[in-house]
Symmetry: C2
Protein backbone atom coordinates (compact mmCIF):
# COMPACT_ATOMS: atom_id res chain seq x y z
CA UNK A 1 0.00 0.00 0.00
CA UNK A 2 1.46 3.34 -0.97
CA UNK A 3 0.98 6.05 1.58
CA UNK A 4 1.71 9.09 -0.56
CA UNK A 5 -0.65 10.13 -3.31
CA UNK A 6 -0.03 12.38 -6.26
CA UNK A 7 -1.52 15.84 -5.97
CA UNK A 8 -4.12 16.76 -8.55
CA UNK A 9 -2.11 19.64 -9.90
CA UNK A 10 1.51 20.70 -9.87
CA UNK A 11 2.26 23.12 -7.06
CA UNK A 12 1.73 26.64 -8.39
CA UNK A 13 5.26 27.74 -7.41
CA UNK A 14 6.93 24.83 -9.14
CA UNK A 15 6.96 26.04 -12.76
CA UNK A 16 8.46 29.31 -11.57
CA UNK A 17 11.16 27.53 -9.60
CA UNK A 18 11.98 25.27 -12.55
CA UNK A 19 12.27 28.31 -14.83
CA UNK A 20 14.33 30.15 -12.24
CA UNK A 21 16.89 27.34 -11.95
CA UNK A 22 16.90 26.91 -15.76
CA UNK A 23 17.79 30.60 -16.04
CA UNK A 24 20.65 30.18 -13.58
CA UNK A 25 21.87 27.11 -15.47
CA UNK A 26 21.79 29.06 -18.73
CA UNK A 27 23.80 31.95 -17.27
CA UNK A 28 26.32 29.66 -15.61
CA UNK A 29 26.79 27.50 -18.73
CA UNK A 30 27.35 30.69 -20.70
CA UNK A 31 30.23 31.48 -18.33
CA UNK A 32 31.60 27.91 -18.20
CA UNK A 33 31.73 27.37 -21.98
CA UNK A 34 34.47 29.53 -23.54
CA UNK A 35 33.48 32.21 -26.05
CA UNK A 36 34.63 31.41 -29.63
CA UNK A 37 38.26 32.36 -30.25
CA UNK A 38 41.33 31.18 -32.16
CA UNK A 39 41.60 29.13 -35.34
CA UNK A 40 39.32 26.51 -33.77
CA UNK A 41 36.55 29.01 -32.95
CA UNK A 42 33.89 26.88 -34.69
CA UNK A 43 34.14 24.21 -31.98
CA UNK A 44 33.43 26.73 -29.21
CA UNK A 45 30.48 27.98 -31.30
CA UNK A 46 29.11 24.49 -31.87
CA UNK A 47 29.46 23.50 -28.20
CA UNK A 48 27.62 26.65 -27.15
CA UNK A 49 25.00 26.15 -29.87
CA UNK A 50 24.30 22.67 -28.48
CA UNK A 51 24.33 23.55 -24.79
CA UNK A 52 22.77 27.02 -24.60
CA UNK A 53 19.25 28.26 -25.20
CA UNK A 54 17.01 25.34 -24.49
CA UNK A 55 15.93 22.38 -22.50
CA UNK A 56 14.02 22.02 -19.26
CA UNK A 57 17.37 21.57 -17.43
CA UNK A 58 15.69 18.87 -15.35
CA UNK A 59 18.98 17.19 -14.39
CA UNK A 60 20.69 20.32 -13.01
CA UNK A 61 17.38 21.24 -11.37
CA UNK A 62 17.48 17.93 -9.48
CA UNK A 63 21.09 18.52 -8.42
CA UNK A 64 20.29 22.00 -7.12
CA UNK A 65 17.00 21.12 -5.44
CA UNK A 66 18.42 18.03 -3.75
CA UNK A 67 21.34 20.07 -2.45
CA UNK A 68 18.92 22.77 -1.29
CA UNK A 69 16.78 20.22 0.56
CA UNK A 70 19.88 18.92 2.36
CA UNK A 71 21.40 22.34 3.11
CA UNK A 72 24.30 22.11 0.62
CA UNK A 73 26.13 24.96 -1.11
CA UNK A 74 23.92 26.08 -3.99
CA UNK A 75 26.65 27.69 -6.11
CA UNK A 76 28.66 24.47 -6.05
CA UNK A 77 25.48 22.51 -6.80
CA UNK A 78 24.80 24.76 -9.79
CA UNK A 79 28.27 24.04 -11.20
CA UNK A 80 27.79 20.31 -10.69
CA UNK A 81 24.42 20.61 -12.40
CA UNK A 82 26.05 22.40 -15.35
CA UNK A 83 28.68 19.64 -15.62
CA UNK A 84 25.89 17.06 -15.73
CA UNK A 85 23.97 19.11 -18.30
CA UNK A 86 27.08 19.25 -20.55
CA UNK A 87 27.29 15.48 -20.40
CA UNK A 88 23.57 15.13 -21.13
CA UNK A 89 23.83 17.54 -24.08
CA UNK A 90 26.85 15.69 -25.55
CA UNK A 91 24.78 12.49 -25.50
CA UNK A 92 21.97 14.23 -27.40
CA UNK A 93 24.42 15.58 -30.01
CA UNK A 94 25.91 12.14 -30.63
CA UNK A 95 22.55 10.30 -30.49
CA UNK A 96 21.19 12.68 -33.16
CA UNK A 97 24.02 11.84 -35.63
CA UNK A 98 23.08 10.24 -38.97
CA UNK A 99 24.83 6.99 -37.93
CA UNK A 100 22.58 6.81 -34.84
CA UNK A 101 19.04 8.26 -34.65
CA UNK A 102 19.54 10.67 -37.59
CA UNK A 103 17.42 13.47 -36.12
CA UNK A 104 17.08 16.93 -37.67
CA UNK A 105 15.40 18.75 -34.79
CA UNK A 106 16.37 19.06 -31.14
CA UNK A 107 15.04 21.47 -28.55
CA UNK A 108 13.16 23.20 -31.38
CA UNK A 109 16.20 23.96 -33.56
CA UNK A 110 18.35 22.09 -36.10
CA UNK A 111 20.57 19.43 -34.56
CA UNK A 112 24.32 20.20 -34.41
CA UNK A 113 25.22 18.05 -37.43
CA UNK A 114 22.51 19.84 -39.45
CA UNK A 115 23.62 23.31 -38.31
CA UNK A 116 27.36 22.45 -38.79
CA UNK A 117 28.43 19.04 -40.13
CA UNK A 118 28.94 15.49 -38.85
CA UNK A 119 32.60 15.97 -37.94
CA UNK A 120 31.92 19.12 -35.91
CA UNK A 121 28.99 17.37 -34.21
CA UNK A 122 31.22 14.44 -33.17
CA UNK A 123 33.88 16.84 -31.89
CA UNK A 124 31.41 19.19 -30.17
CA UNK A 125 29.99 16.18 -28.32
CA UNK A 126 33.49 15.08 -27.37
CA UNK A 127 34.27 18.61 -26.20
CA UNK A 128 31.16 18.87 -24.02
CA UNK A 129 31.84 15.47 -22.47
CA UNK A 130 35.43 16.49 -21.72
CA UNK A 131 34.30 19.84 -20.33
CA UNK A 132 31.88 18.10 -17.92
CA UNK A 133 34.79 16.64 -16.02
CA UNK A 134 36.75 19.88 -16.22
CA UNK A 135 33.83 21.73 -14.62
CA UNK A 136 33.65 19.17 -11.78
CA UNK A 137 37.42 19.51 -11.30
CA UNK A 138 37.09 23.30 -11.05
CA UNK A 139 34.05 23.29 -8.70
CA UNK A 140 34.47 24.94 -5.31
CA UNK A 141 34.22 21.76 -3.21
CA UNK A 142 36.43 19.53 -1.09
CA UNK A 143 38.67 17.43 -3.38
CA UNK A 144 37.32 14.19 -1.86
CA UNK A 145 33.78 15.25 -2.83
CA UNK A 146 34.94 16.25 -6.31
CA UNK A 147 36.47 12.80 -6.80
CA UNK A 148 33.17 11.14 -5.76
CA UNK A 149 31.29 13.36 -8.21
CA UNK A 150 33.74 12.55 -11.02
CA UNK A 151 33.82 8.80 -10.43
CA UNK A 152 30.03 8.77 -10.18
CA UNK A 153 29.57 10.74 -13.40
CA UNK A 154 31.98 8.46 -15.27
CA UNK A 155 30.04 5.41 -14.05
CA UNK A 156 26.56 6.84 -14.73
CA UNK A 157 27.56 8.17 -18.14
CA UNK A 158 29.60 5.11 -19.15
CA UNK A 159 29.25 1.63 -20.61
CA UNK A 160 27.26 0.30 -17.65
CA UNK A 161 25.12 3.45 -17.60
CA UNK A 162 23.97 5.89 -20.25
CA UNK A 163 26.19 4.65 -23.09
CA UNK A 164 25.23 1.05 -22.31
CA UNK A 165 21.56 2.00 -22.60
CA UNK A 166 22.08 3.67 -25.96
CA UNK A 167 23.95 0.59 -27.22
CA UNK A 168 21.08 -1.69 -26.16
CA UNK A 169 18.65 0.71 -27.82
CA UNK A 170 20.43 0.64 -31.19
CA UNK A 171 21.44 -3.04 -31.24
CA UNK A 172 18.80 -5.24 -29.60
CA UNK A 173 16.31 -6.58 -32.17
CA UNK A 174 12.65 -5.57 -31.85
CA UNK A 175 11.55 -9.17 -31.26
CA UNK A 176 13.63 -9.35 -28.10
CA UNK A 177 12.17 -6.23 -26.52
CA UNK A 178 9.74 -6.93 -23.72
CA UNK A 179 8.90 -4.78 -20.71
CA UNK A 180 11.88 -6.14 -18.75
CA UNK A 181 14.33 -5.27 -21.51
CA UNK A 182 13.09 -1.75 -22.17
CA UNK A 183 12.97 -1.14 -18.41
CA UNK A 184 16.63 -2.22 -18.17
CA UNK A 185 17.49 -0.18 -21.26
CA UNK A 186 15.86 2.97 -19.92
CA UNK A 187 17.29 2.50 -16.43
CA UNK A 188 20.69 2.84 -18.11
CA UNK A 189 19.92 5.29 -20.91
CA UNK A 190 17.85 7.85 -18.98
CA UNK A 191 17.71 6.58 -15.41
CA UNK A 192 21.43 6.55 -14.68
CA UNK A 193 21.85 10.33 -15.13
CA UNK A 194 18.67 11.16 -13.20
CA UNK A 195 19.93 8.94 -10.40
CA UNK A 196 23.30 10.67 -10.60
CA UNK A 197 21.62 14.10 -10.42
CA UNK A 198 20.06 13.50 -6.99
CA UNK A 199 23.10 11.65 -5.64
CA UNK A 200 25.32 14.50 -6.84
CA UNK A 201 23.13 16.96 -4.94
CA UNK A 202 23.57 14.63 -1.96
CA UNK A 203 27.37 14.54 -2.33
CA UNK A 204 27.52 18.34 -2.47
CA UNK A 205 25.53 18.48 0.78
CA UNK A 206 27.43 15.65 2.50
CA UNK A 207 24.46 13.25 2.56
CA UNK A 208 24.69 9.97 4.50
CA UNK A 209 24.64 6.56 2.77
CA UNK A 210 21.05 6.05 4.00
CA UNK A 211 20.00 9.36 2.52
CA UNK A 212 21.78 8.58 -0.77
CA UNK A 213 19.99 5.21 -0.99
CA UNK A 214 16.58 6.85 -0.49
CA UNK A 215 17.45 9.51 -3.08
CA UNK A 216 18.46 6.79 -5.55
CA UNK A 217 15.17 4.93 -5.06
CA UNK A 218 13.29 8.16 -5.67
CA UNK A 219 15.32 8.91 -8.81
CA UNK A 220 15.12 5.43 -10.31
CA UNK A 221 11.32 5.37 -10.09
CA UNK A 222 10.92 8.98 -11.17
CA UNK A 223 13.36 8.49 -14.06
CA UNK A 224 11.42 5.53 -15.38
CA UNK A 225 8.15 7.46 -15.04
CA UNK A 226 9.83 10.26 -17.01
CA UNK A 227 10.71 7.85 -19.80
CA UNK A 228 7.23 6.33 -19.91
CA UNK A 229 5.82 9.85 -20.21
CA UNK A 230 8.30 10.40 -23.08
CA UNK A 231 6.86 7.38 -24.87
CA UNK A 232 3.34 8.65 -24.21
CA UNK A 233 4.25 12.07 -25.66
CA UNK A 234 5.76 10.36 -28.70
CA UNK A 235 2.24 9.10 -29.47
CA UNK A 236 0.06 11.94 -28.17
CA UNK A 237 2.23 15.06 -28.55
CA UNK A 238 2.93 17.35 -31.48
CA UNK A 239 6.46 18.24 -32.65
CA UNK A 240 6.07 21.96 -32.00
CA UNK A 241 5.22 21.52 -28.31
CA UNK A 242 7.60 18.62 -27.72
CA UNK A 243 10.50 20.34 -29.54
CA UNK A 244 11.71 17.25 -31.36
CA UNK A 245 10.35 14.71 -33.86
CA UNK A 246 7.34 12.78 -32.50
CA UNK A 247 5.59 9.61 -33.63
CA UNK A 248 8.97 8.37 -34.75
CA UNK A 249 9.25 5.36 -32.47
CA UNK A 250 5.66 4.33 -33.19
CA UNK A 251 6.13 4.81 -36.95
CA UNK A 252 9.29 2.71 -36.83
CA UNK A 253 7.31 -0.04 -35.10
CA UNK A 254 9.73 0.33 -32.21
CA UNK A 255 8.77 -1.32 -28.92
CA UNK A 256 8.02 1.33 -26.29
CA UNK A 257 6.19 1.28 -22.97
CA UNK A 258 3.08 2.39 -24.89
CA UNK A 259 3.32 -0.35 -27.55
CA UNK A 260 3.84 -3.01 -24.85
CA UNK A 261 1.48 -1.76 -22.11
CA UNK A 262 -0.99 0.24 -24.20
CA UNK A 263 -1.64 3.95 -23.57
CA UNK A 264 -3.75 3.42 -20.44
CA UNK A 265 -1.40 0.74 -19.14
CA UNK A 266 1.58 3.05 -19.63
CA UNK A 267 -0.19 5.90 -17.82
CA UNK A 268 -1.07 3.55 -14.94
CA UNK A 269 2.52 2.29 -14.70
CA UNK A 270 3.90 5.84 -14.68
CA UNK A 271 1.48 6.79 -11.90
CA UNK A 272 2.50 3.77 -9.79
CA UNK A 273 6.16 4.64 -10.22
CA UNK A 274 5.41 8.25 -9.29
CA UNK A 275 3.72 7.13 -6.07
CA UNK A 276 6.65 4.90 -5.18
CA UNK A 277 9.04 7.79 -5.87
CA UNK A 278 7.00 9.95 -3.48
CA UNK A 279 7.26 7.29 -0.77
CA UNK A 280 11.05 7.29 -1.01
CA UNK A 281 11.03 10.94 0.04
CA UNK A 282 9.37 10.16 3.37
CA UNK A 283 12.54 10.85 5.45
CA UNK A 284 12.36 14.54 4.53
CA UNK A 285 8.72 15.61 4.99
CA UNK A 286 8.07 19.24 3.98
CA UNK A 287 11.61 19.97 2.85
CA UNK A 288 11.14 17.47 -0.01
CA UNK A 289 8.19 19.38 -1.49
CA UNK A 290 10.09 20.45 -4.60
CA UNK A 291 11.25 16.89 -5.31
CA UNK A 292 7.62 15.77 -4.86
CA UNK A 293 6.42 18.49 -7.22
CA UNK A 294 9.00 17.22 -9.71
CA UNK A 295 7.21 13.88 -9.83
CA UNK A 296 3.90 15.61 -10.55
CA UNK A 297 5.62 17.70 -13.20
CA UNK A 298 7.15 14.65 -14.87
CA UNK A 299 3.78 12.89 -15.03
CA UNK A 300 1.86 15.94 -16.22
CA UNK A 301 4.40 17.38 -18.64
CA UNK A 302 3.40 18.07 -22.22
CA UNK A 303 6.98 18.45 -23.51
CA UNK B 1 74.30 27.42 -27.98
CA UNK B 2 72.79 24.15 -26.94
CA UNK B 3 74.83 22.18 -24.44
CA UNK B 4 73.28 18.75 -24.82
CA UNK B 5 73.79 16.74 -27.97
CA UNK B 6 71.85 13.80 -29.30
CA UNK B 7 73.51 10.45 -28.89
CA UNK B 8 74.29 8.54 -32.07
CA UNK B 9 72.12 5.59 -31.13
CA UNK B 10 69.27 4.95 -28.77
CA UNK B 11 70.47 3.57 -25.45
CA UNK B 12 70.49 -0.24 -25.75
CA UNK B 13 68.26 -0.64 -22.66
CA UNK B 14 65.66 1.78 -23.93
CA UNK B 15 63.70 -0.44 -26.35
CA UNK B 16 63.43 -3.07 -23.62
CA UNK B 17 62.17 -0.53 -21.11
CA UNK B 18 59.63 0.83 -23.59
CA UNK B 19 58.37 -2.69 -24.31
CA UNK B 20 58.31 -3.50 -20.60
CA UNK B 21 56.11 -0.50 -19.77
CA UNK B 22 53.93 -1.20 -22.83
CA UNK B 23 53.39 -4.72 -21.47
CA UNK B 24 52.38 -3.33 -18.08
CA UNK B 25 50.02 -0.85 -19.75
CA UNK B 26 48.44 -3.67 -21.76
CA UNK B 27 47.87 -5.81 -18.66
CA UNK B 28 46.53 -2.92 -16.63
CA UNK B 29 44.19 -1.73 -19.41
CA UNK B 30 42.91 -5.28 -19.68
CA UNK B 31 41.95 -5.08 -16.00
CA UNK B 32 40.58 -1.52 -16.19
CA UNK B 33 38.29 -2.11 -19.18
CA UNK B 34 35.36 -4.37 -18.22
CA UNK B 35 35.00 -7.74 -19.94
CA UNK B 36 31.99 -7.93 -22.28
CA UNK B 37 28.74 -8.66 -20.44
CA UNK B 38 25.03 -7.83 -20.54
CA UNK B 39 22.83 -6.77 -23.45
CA UNK B 40 25.35 -4.04 -24.29
CA UNK B 41 28.32 -6.42 -24.48
CA UNK B 42 29.33 -5.16 -27.94
CA UNK B 43 30.40 -1.81 -26.49
CA UNK B 44 32.79 -3.47 -24.01
CA UNK B 45 34.16 -5.53 -26.92
CA UNK B 46 34.63 -2.51 -29.15
CA UNK B 47 36.30 -0.46 -26.41
CA UNK B 48 38.70 -3.32 -25.71
CA UNK B 49 39.29 -3.88 -29.44
CA UNK B 50 40.31 -0.23 -29.76
CA UNK B 51 42.44 0.01 -26.64
CA UNK B 52 44.15 -3.36 -26.34
CA UNK B 53 46.83 -5.06 -28.42
CA UNK B 54 48.79 -2.29 -29.98
CA UNK B 55 50.52 1.01 -29.92
CA UNK B 56 53.87 2.15 -28.58
CA UNK B 57 52.11 3.42 -25.44
CA UNK B 58 54.41 6.44 -25.55
CA UNK B 59 52.09 8.63 -23.47
CA UNK B 60 51.74 6.21 -20.52
CA UNK B 61 55.48 5.52 -20.83
CA UNK B 62 56.14 9.24 -20.29
CA UNK B 63 53.82 9.32 -17.26
CA UNK B 64 55.52 6.31 -15.68
CA UNK B 65 59.10 7.35 -16.49
CA UNK B 66 58.59 10.91 -15.30
CA UNK B 67 57.10 9.62 -12.04
CA UNK B 68 60.00 7.17 -11.72
CA UNK B 69 62.55 9.94 -12.24
CA UNK B 70 60.92 11.99 -9.47
CA UNK B 71 60.38 9.10 -7.06
CA UNK B 72 56.59 8.86 -7.41
CA UNK B 73 54.38 5.80 -6.88
CA UNK B 74 54.68 3.68 -10.04
CA UNK B 75 51.39 1.79 -9.66
CA UNK B 76 49.50 5.05 -9.43
CA UNK B 77 51.50 6.41 -12.38
CA UNK B 78 50.57 3.32 -14.42
CA UNK B 79 46.87 3.92 -13.76
CA UNK B 80 47.21 7.57 -14.73
CA UNK B 81 49.05 6.46 -17.87
CA UNK B 82 46.22 4.05 -18.71
CA UNK B 83 43.66 6.84 -18.25
CA UNK B 84 45.65 9.00 -20.66
CA UNK B 85 45.97 6.12 -23.13
CA UNK B 86 42.17 5.61 -23.08
CA UNK B 87 41.74 9.27 -23.95
CA UNK B 88 44.35 9.03 -26.72
CA UNK B 89 42.70 5.91 -28.14
CA UNK B 90 39.22 7.51 -28.12
CA UNK B 91 40.66 10.37 -30.19
CA UNK B 92 42.05 7.90 -32.73
CA UNK B 93 38.71 6.07 -32.96
CA UNK B 94 36.80 9.31 -33.62
CA UNK B 95 39.48 10.79 -35.95
CA UNK B 96 39.31 7.62 -38.07
CA UNK B 97 35.53 7.95 -38.64
CA UNK B 98 34.26 8.41 -42.21
CA UNK B 99 33.12 11.96 -41.39
CA UNK B 100 36.68 12.82 -40.33
CA UNK B 101 39.84 11.19 -41.73
CA UNK B 102 37.99 8.07 -43.00
CA UNK B 103 40.82 5.63 -42.25
CA UNK B 104 40.54 1.86 -42.63
CA UNK B 105 43.71 0.82 -40.81
CA UNK B 106 45.00 1.68 -37.34
CA UNK B 107 47.77 0.01 -35.37
CA UNK B 108 47.88 -2.64 -38.11
CA UNK B 109 44.23 -3.73 -37.88
CA UNK B 110 40.86 -2.47 -39.18
CA UNK B 111 39.67 0.72 -37.52
CA UNK B 112 36.74 0.39 -35.08
CA UNK B 113 34.10 1.64 -37.53
CA UNK B 114 35.35 -0.91 -40.10
CA UNK B 115 35.40 -3.78 -37.57
CA UNK B 116 32.00 -2.76 -36.10
CA UNK B 117 30.05 0.19 -37.52
CA UNK B 118 30.01 3.98 -37.29
CA UNK B 119 27.55 4.13 -34.38
CA UNK B 120 29.54 1.69 -32.28
CA UNK B 121 32.75 3.57 -33.12
CA UNK B 122 31.24 6.86 -31.93
CA UNK B 123 29.98 5.20 -28.73
CA UNK B 124 33.21 3.24 -28.10
CA UNK B 125 35.14 6.51 -28.35
CA UNK B 126 32.69 8.17 -25.97
CA UNK B 127 33.02 5.23 -23.59
CA UNK B 128 36.84 5.34 -23.57
CA UNK B 129 36.82 9.09 -23.00
CA UNK B 130 34.39 8.68 -20.11
CA UNK B 131 36.40 5.79 -18.68
CA UNK B 132 39.59 7.92 -18.68
CA UNK B 133 38.13 10.15 -16.02
CA UNK B 134 36.71 7.19 -14.11
CA UNK B 135 40.18 5.63 -13.96
CA UNK B 136 41.67 8.88 -12.63
CA UNK B 137 38.87 9.04 -10.04
CA UNK B 138 39.65 5.49 -8.91
CA UNK B 139 43.46 5.90 -8.80
CA UNK B 140 45.16 5.37 -5.46
CA UNK B 141 46.26 8.98 -4.91
CA UNK B 142 45.43 11.93 -2.68
CA UNK B 143 42.09 13.47 -3.82
CA UNK B 144 43.77 16.86 -4.34
CA UNK B 145 46.23 15.24 -6.77
CA UNK B 146 43.41 13.39 -8.52
CA UNK B 147 41.56 16.66 -9.05
CA UNK B 148 44.71 18.25 -10.58
CA UNK B 149 45.08 15.24 -12.89
CA UNK B 150 41.42 15.40 -13.92
CA UNK B 151 41.34 19.15 -14.51
CA UNK B 152 44.59 18.89 -16.45
CA UNK B 153 43.34 16.05 -18.64
CA UNK B 154 40.10 17.90 -19.39
CA UNK B 155 42.10 20.97 -20.43
CA UNK B 156 44.70 19.09 -22.51
CA UNK B 157 42.09 16.91 -24.18
CA UNK B 158 39.56 19.71 -24.72
CA UNK B 159 38.70 22.56 -27.07
CA UNK B 160 41.88 24.50 -26.29
CA UNK B 161 43.96 21.31 -26.53
CA UNK B 162 43.65 18.11 -28.51
CA UNK B 163 40.10 18.67 -29.82
CA UNK B 164 41.01 22.24 -30.81
CA UNK B 165 43.94 20.88 -32.83
CA UNK B 166 41.77 18.37 -34.65
CA UNK B 167 39.26 21.11 -35.47
CA UNK B 168 42.00 23.32 -36.93
CA UNK B 169 43.29 20.32 -38.89
CA UNK B 170 39.92 19.57 -40.51
CA UNK B 171 38.71 23.15 -41.04
CA UNK B 172 41.59 25.48 -41.93
CA UNK B 173 42.07 25.76 -45.70
CA UNK B 174 45.36 24.55 -47.20
CA UNK B 175 46.24 28.04 -48.43
CA UNK B 176 46.30 29.35 -44.87
CA UNK B 177 48.69 26.69 -43.57
CA UNK B 178 52.18 27.96 -42.95
CA UNK B 179 54.77 26.72 -40.46
CA UNK B 180 53.30 28.87 -37.67
CA UNK B 181 49.81 27.47 -38.19
CA UNK B 182 50.79 23.81 -38.35
CA UNK B 183 53.05 24.32 -35.34
CA UNK B 184 50.09 25.76 -33.41
CA UNK B 185 47.83 22.99 -34.72
CA UNK B 186 50.22 20.24 -33.67
CA UNK B 187 50.97 21.85 -30.31
CA UNK B 188 47.27 21.35 -29.59
CA UNK B 189 46.54 18.13 -31.47
CA UNK B 190 49.56 16.06 -30.39
CA UNK B 191 51.58 18.31 -28.08
CA UNK B 192 48.92 18.90 -25.43
CA UNK B 193 48.68 15.22 -24.43
CA UNK B 194 52.46 14.68 -24.47
CA UNK B 195 52.79 17.74 -22.26
CA UNK B 196 50.06 16.34 -20.02
CA UNK B 197 51.86 12.99 -19.82
CA UNK B 198 55.00 14.43 -18.21
CA UNK B 199 53.10 16.85 -15.99
CA UNK B 200 50.86 14.00 -14.85
CA UNK B 201 53.96 12.01 -13.89
CA UNK B 202 55.04 15.14 -12.02
CA UNK B 203 51.71 15.49 -10.21
CA UNK B 204 51.86 11.84 -9.11
CA UNK B 205 55.33 12.47 -7.66
CA UNK B 206 54.47 15.84 -6.10
CA UNK B 207 56.74 17.87 -8.42
CA UNK B 208 57.32 21.58 -7.75
CA UNK B 209 56.07 24.31 -10.10
CA UNK B 210 59.66 24.83 -11.33
CA UNK B 211 60.01 21.14 -12.11
CA UNK B 212 56.63 21.09 -13.87
CA UNK B 213 57.67 24.06 -16.03
CA UNK B 214 60.91 22.33 -17.07
CA UNK B 215 58.99 19.11 -17.82
CA UNK B 216 56.52 21.07 -19.95
CA UNK B 217 59.32 22.68 -21.97
CA UNK B 218 60.83 19.24 -22.55
CA UNK B 219 57.46 17.81 -23.63
CA UNK B 220 56.46 20.66 -25.91
CA UNK B 221 59.69 20.42 -27.91
CA UNK B 222 59.76 16.63 -27.90
CA UNK B 223 56.08 16.46 -28.90
CA UNK B 224 56.66 18.71 -31.89
CA UNK B 225 59.73 16.67 -32.89
CA UNK B 226 57.49 13.58 -32.64
CA UNK B 227 54.96 15.13 -35.02
CA UNK B 228 57.62 16.23 -37.51
CA UNK B 229 58.94 12.66 -37.50
CA UNK B 230 55.34 11.52 -38.16
CA UNK B 231 55.22 13.74 -41.23
CA UNK B 232 58.61 12.38 -42.34
CA UNK B 233 57.37 8.79 -41.93
CA UNK B 234 54.24 9.66 -43.93
CA UNK B 235 56.59 10.30 -46.87
CA UNK B 236 59.38 7.78 -46.25
CA UNK B 237 57.65 4.89 -44.40
CA UNK B 238 55.63 1.94 -45.64
CA UNK B 239 52.17 1.07 -44.29
CA UNK B 240 53.21 -2.30 -42.90
CA UNK B 241 55.96 -0.88 -40.68
CA UNK B 242 54.06 2.28 -39.72
CA UNK B 243 50.82 0.37 -39.00
CA UNK B 244 48.53 2.91 -40.64
CA UNK B 245 47.99 4.45 -44.06
CA UNK B 246 51.05 6.39 -45.26
CA UNK B 247 51.56 8.90 -48.05
CA UNK B 248 48.03 10.09 -47.38
CA UNK B 249 48.79 13.64 -46.34
CA UNK B 250 51.24 14.05 -49.23
CA UNK B 251 48.78 12.53 -51.71
CA UNK B 252 46.04 14.86 -50.48
CA UNK B 253 48.40 17.79 -51.09
CA UNK B 254 48.07 18.55 -47.39
CA UNK B 255 50.56 20.97 -45.86
CA UNK B 256 52.91 19.17 -43.46
CA UNK B 257 56.28 20.03 -41.95
CA UNK B 258 57.84 18.12 -44.85
CA UNK B 259 55.90 19.96 -47.57
CA UNK B 260 56.74 23.32 -45.99
CA UNK B 261 60.34 22.73 -44.84
CA UNK B 262 61.39 19.94 -47.24
CA UNK B 263 62.62 16.57 -46.02
CA UNK B 264 66.06 17.80 -44.95
CA UNK B 265 64.62 20.95 -43.42
CA UNK B 266 62.11 18.89 -41.42
CA UNK B 267 64.85 16.56 -40.18
CA UNK B 268 66.97 19.54 -39.15
CA UNK B 269 64.04 21.17 -37.33
CA UNK B 270 63.25 17.92 -35.48
CA UNK B 271 66.91 17.63 -34.42
CA UNK B 272 66.96 21.20 -33.10
CA UNK B 273 63.79 20.60 -31.11
CA UNK B 274 65.28 17.37 -29.76
CA UNK B 275 68.36 19.23 -28.53
CA UNK B 276 66.24 21.88 -26.87
CA UNK B 277 64.16 19.14 -25.20
CA UNK B 278 67.39 17.59 -23.87
CA UNK B 279 68.45 20.94 -22.39
CA UNK B 280 65.18 21.24 -20.47
CA UNK B 281 66.14 18.06 -18.58
CA UNK B 282 69.30 19.63 -17.15
CA UNK B 283 67.92 19.88 -13.58
CA UNK B 284 67.91 16.09 -13.31
CA UNK B 285 71.25 14.88 -14.70
CA UNK B 286 71.56 11.06 -14.78
CA UNK B 287 68.07 10.36 -13.44
CA UNK B 288 66.64 11.85 -16.65
CA UNK B 289 68.40 9.32 -18.88
CA UNK B 290 65.19 7.57 -19.92
CA UNK B 291 63.51 10.86 -20.85
CA UNK B 292 66.65 11.71 -22.88
CA UNK B 293 66.55 8.33 -24.57
CA UNK B 294 62.92 9.04 -25.42
CA UNK B 295 64.02 12.03 -27.49
CA UNK B 296 66.48 9.85 -29.42
CA UNK B 297 63.78 7.25 -29.87
CA UNK B 298 61.29 9.80 -31.20
CA UNK B 299 63.80 11.11 -33.74
CA UNK B 300 64.99 7.69 -34.86
CA UNK B 301 61.68 5.84 -34.87
CA UNK B 302 60.54 4.01 -37.97
CA UNK B 303 56.90 3.62 -36.86
Amino acid sequence: MSRATLSNATNADFPMRLRDVAGQVEARLDALLPKPHGHQSVIFEAARYAALGGGKRLRPFLVVETARMLGGDLNAALDVGCALECLHVYSLVHDDLPCMDDDDLRRGKPTVHRAYDDAIAVLAGDALLTRSFGILGDANLEPAIQVKLITGLAASGGMSGMIGGQVVDITVAEGERDEALITELQAMKTGALIDYAVRAGGYVAGASETELAALSSYARDMGLAFQIQDDILDVTGDAETVGKAVGKDANLGKATFVSILGLDGARKRAKELGERAMNSLEPWDESAQTLRDTVDFVLERKH
